[in-house]
Symmetry: C2
Subunit: 167 residues, 2 copies
């Protein structure tokens, strides 16, 4: 049914592309994805068209079904990937859900909260100690996080505003 060029990605040799997937994959591996998750994600970033069915992913990466299944599951849980379906075709076509991915990133930015509360615990537990200098430094760093907690939503708002007025 897909009558486009059936290449996985545009006009480059398949070997080249495998290399690119590895390369991009390594970057995302360092942002807390497992090697295979990172490769799946990189592949979907580069694929043309930008959605692939389960078997195509498995075949390209030469991995087992379970590994691909688990990688996709985690990528979907993290909001980086979703899938579309096509009428009269029961396959799922997996793709990077760029906009949800962006939302996840934005939310994670907002998560300074836990740092603040952990520091508060520490500061509270230290309240009877005889280390005023150190305790003051802890208050200082907590202050910084509180500052971020205020400012990050601000720049988020600024971004929203910029994008709103761009249409």
């Amino acid at each position: 049914m897909n009558n486009q060029n059936p290449d996985t990605t545009a006009n480059n040799s398949i070997r080249d592309i495998k290399q690119r997937v590895e390369e991009i994959g390594i970057f995302y591996e360092q942002t807390t994805l497992t090697p295979m998750e990172a490769r799946v994600f990189a592949l979907l970033l580069l694929a043309d068209p930008p959605e692939m069915d389960f078997f195509a992913i498995q075949d390209f990466l030469q991995a087992s079904k379970s590994t691909i299944s688990n990688a996709l599951k985690r990528l979907m849980n993290e909001g980086r990937v979703d899938y579309i379906t096509k009428p009269g075709d029961r396959k799922r076509y997996f793709r990077v859900s760029v906009l949800r991915w962006l939302e996840q990133i934005q939310e994670s930015f907002a998560s300074v909260g836990p740092f603040v509360s952990t520091l508060n615990k520490v500061i509270d537990l230290r309240k009877d100690t005889n280390s005023p200098e150190f305790n003051r430094e802890l208050l200082y760093i907590k202050d910084y996080f509180l500052f971020l907690k205020e400012e990050l939503p601000r720049i988020q708002a600024k971004w929203n505003e910029r994008k709103r007025s761009a249409d």
Copy 2:
């Protein structure tokens, strides 16, 4: 020589404190420290006075010398911990270097760069593809990172300004 109360931390039972170290430790474990690194870090955050010699750390955490040595090494490389020395005492007293730790955090905030360049690679590799919608989304998310790359230094400057005028 240390004529303070020799308790590891202030006026709480040692069992309590072990529990606190675990608790605070678990939080830092989730921010890319190994369990033992996280415990060492948590211990130094709670210790009173806020510096401890090698053996005191080892004894408290009931771990091997090598494990403590490696944990301290990594914590020092990451800029979270340093040590002081005392005249006529060849031990090193390890402590959380709050201000360097803060600097590290601030630097890591500034590191949006790699995200942008990875996205640029992806966008470049996709330039001949037939997926305008997807490609536009990628440009959009890249735009967001570029925006952050501008704005984060700004809020950093704002913080510096606030702190400068606070003395």
